[in-house]
Amino acid sequence: MSELELRQTTIDAEVAHAPALRRGRRPRLPRAGTFVAGAFVVFLLVATAFPGLLETHDPNQIAPSEAFESPSLAHWFGTDESGRDIYSRVVEGTGTSLLIGVTATFIGLALGLVLGVLAGFGGRVVDYGVNRLVEVLFAFPGLLLALLVIVVYGPGPVTATIAVGLSTAPGYARIIRGQFVAIRSSHYVEAARVLGHSRPRIIARHVLPNALIPIFVLATLGVGQAIVWAAALSYLGLGAQPPAPEWGAMLAAGRTYLSVAWWMTVFPGLMIVGTTISTTVLGRALARRGKGDA
């Protein structure tokens, strides 16, 4: 998918702006923003590692008599259709959701990297071939790709993750290839050639490291997007399997009760949006540091 590509353009622009930034022409996001984003990510990490610390209830404890309770002191985010505490489920679901986001991004990135490296370094013929392949995958609707993977390997968080990863790979591949091509034809790589450095040395010491910084930033941005994707699969009933709480699945389940219990979708939705925004904000901060004055 290519939200990523858009993001990439954004990063590139950001990077291109680095000098302007230092001159203060471009307003930075308030530092407070970065700080809040950081705090949110810390919360997410704690929720992933030690969900028990943050939970107020057993996330899977059903209580049909307490179903559809609106947010209160006892249930901060309210309860769902089975009377489970949504706040605790949101916390419990952090790990799964992030895992889906991170792993899917990782898969997409790894595949993209392989394709991108092949295209970027494999010579004209390979580049042409890989490019066509990526084009084909690109023209292939992402959702269909995901659906196919799921239908072949059965639904569940693992396949959803793989599916999302696979469908994001072409986007990554294009960006990565673009990065490589740009770096390969950059002046500093030319300068290294003039110095008589060998190809592998140039790749290892210039091209890869320089390509990896933006790619890493890109990856932080891809995580939120992957979660949203997995959520779409959950809507089609093909994501995480019950009772495991996962934001996308909660969102999809709560949609049915939108008019009865808004809190069932709003809070998981906020988590997704919050994750996307905070990783993006941090990623951008990182991009500025990586290419800026450091």
Binding site: N60, Q61, I62, P64, S65, A67, F68, E81, S82, G83, V151, G154, P155, G156, L236, G237, L238, Q241, P242, P243, A253, R255, T256, Y257, L258, S259, V260
Partner: protein
């Protein structure tokens, strides 16, 4: 709104107007219910096709296209006398020859009929006795014949229509019904127009002439929230498959009428696969049924729109037998049973173990067949069963994958609806013959109940001629099925309609609960 629409609601019927119906069921791939034969086809074809007989609200078979019928003494031949002067909407007369063509059509492999084909399993041939008398020749006595013929899947179509070939007939089957298929815009709607010459109302209809409505726009709106929103916004007049919370909301609103029409045949139930471990052990089955708690869930998830069932049959079936005592939740008893059955060890997350195997129950759930509330109920089943040490693994699957999982026996519990008129559905669901998969891998006996006694009772009930004896036989069979803890009944197959208060006189057919708009009119 009130609980059910009264046929003779307020005022006199008003002529005219087009009713917009929004269906949440899948769009049929063929409008001819002979081909394949599923509920969505029944739903729409009931508007333009009619059957030989119908059933009234008490479960009694009543005349429709056939005004009378008589079995032979050996019950191997039935003579149906057709109503006179009825024509299909293409002008072809409804005669014995037409009935014969329809039965042959159903039995022709090229038609690819499934439901209708099964229903007429014992019908060998139809003989034309006279223009109005058709004789059904059976291979064995069939007490369910009339019930089978009451279903929309065995409806009678114009022989001329059938002769057009499958492609054309799928597009616009020709029947005797109150409406005629005018146009089918795929994925959008089917336009039905009034049959002005209609004269074949079933015996229980209030209106015997043509419908009051000028036509019906039959739309396909897959998303339930959208359907309800459209009803609220007045874009549609009737919706089917409303979500329970929606029904609850609509009940408090005078603008809507709720038409509750559970389907006949089987109840919605969780089947326990007795064909393999661990449910080949009756104690484990009982333990599961004792362990899970569903009443609270049904109440909260269905907002009071669904009644707990304790029977394998729908409450619409007069012969349904219930026994609530078998399904009382008792965690202690469940634990004791499991201990007794040897599932004594427990692993780290509390799941019981025996000989190194975990007490895992695979539960494939079809997202197409189970509404969200039902899926949530299954999650609650999962949670309560866990307390007794069952590890229920739910997988949400699309329909094809779901059938796939069943075909390879990868399930311990499963919930599958089955709609049929009459108690003979028990034979389809619990006779050991139904364990043998069809070439497609599908088999109906999902609990894999294999009990010669049950088989004998069901076979006998299917051929007996005495109603009392038939009832007794079915009751015995149901006792055995329930008593063996092969299934956990939940509620009737939910089937209901929300109608705008402007729609009057609509009803659900007592056969398979499809809506009928013959008597309906729009006010305002």
């Amino acid at each position: 709104g009130c609980q059910a629409a009264e046929p003779e609601a307020s005022g006199d019927p008003v002529e005219g107007g087009t009713l917009v119906y929004a269906s949440g069921d899948a769009e049929p791939t063929c409008l001819d219910p002979h081909v394949g034969g599923n509920y969505p086809q029944a739903l729409i074809s009931a508007q333009f096709l009619e059957s030989l007989v119908s059933r009234d609200a008490t479960g009694e078979i009543i005349p429709w296209l056939a005004e009378s019928w008589e079995p032979s003494d050996d019950r191997l031949a039935w003579e149906f006398t057709l109503r006179e002067g009825i024509e299909f909407t293409d002008g072809t007369p409804l005669d014995a020859e037409a009935v014969k063509v329809n039965v042959e059509h159903l039995k022709d492999p090229a038609t690819q009929s499934s439901t209708g084909y099964l229903a007429l399993g014992k019908v060998e041939a139809v003989e034309v006795v006279s223009d109005t008398v058709a004789r059904f020749v059976l291979s064995a006595p069939d007490s369910a014949l009339l019930e089978s013929l009451a279903q929309p899947w065995t409806a009678i179509q114009s022989p001329a229509g059938i002769a057009r070939g499958m492609d054309a007939n799928c597009q616009a089957p020709i029947g005797t019904g109150p409406f005629i298929v005018d146009e089918w815009v795929k994925q959008d709607h089917v336009t039905l127009v009034r049959n002005d010459d209609y004269a074949s109302a079933p015996a229980d209809a209030a209106n015997t002439g043509p419908a009051y409505l000028e036509g019906i726009e039959w739309r396909f709106v897959p998303d339930s929230s959208t359907r309800y929103a459209a009803l609220q916004g007045g874009q549609v007049d009737v919706i089917d498959n409303p979500q329970p919370d929606t029904i609850a909301a609509a009940q408090g609103d005078d603008a809507f009428t709720w038409l509750d029409a559970p389907r006949p045949g089987a109840s919605n139930r969780i089947e326990l696969n007795s064909g393999q471990a661990p449910f080949d052990d009756e104690r484990v089955r009982e333990a599961f049924i004792r362990a899970v708690e569903v009443n609270d869930g049904i109440e909260s998830l269905f907002f009071g729109t669904a009644q707990r069932s304790y029977s394998p049959l729908s409450s619409r079936e007069p012969l349904a037998y219930s026994d609530a005592s078998l399904f009382e939740t008792d965690l202690e008893a469940a634990n004791a049973l499991l201990d007794e059955a040897g599932w004594t060890a427990r692993d780290s997350d509390g799941t019981r173990m025996k000989d190194g195997a975990r007490l895992t129950l695979r539960f494939p759930v079809s997202t197409n067949q189970s509404i969200p509330a039902e899926q949530s109920l299954f999650e609650q089943v999962q949670a309560t069963a866990k307390q007794a040490g069952f590890d229920v693994v739910i997988s949400l699957l699309d329909l094809s994958s779901w059938y796939g999982a069943l075909a390879v026996n990868e399930y311990e519990i499963v919930s599958a609806p089955y709609t049929k008129v009459g108690p003979d559905v028990l034979r389809i669901l619990y006779h050991s013959d139904s364990i043998i998969p069809a070439p497609s891998g599908y088999f109906a006996n999902l609990s894999q109940l294999d009990d010669p006694e049950v088989d004998a009772l069901l076979t006998e009930a299917a051929s007996t001629s005495d109603p009392a004896e038939r009832a007794a036989l079915y009751e015995q069979a149901q006792q055995l099925i329930l008593g063996g803890y092969y299934l956990l009944p939940l509620y009737d197959q939910q089937n209901s309609f929300l109608l705008s208060a402007d729609v009057k006189g609509a009803r659900a057919m007592p056969t398979v609960s499809t809506p009928s708009f013959l008597d309906a009119w729009l006010i305002g």
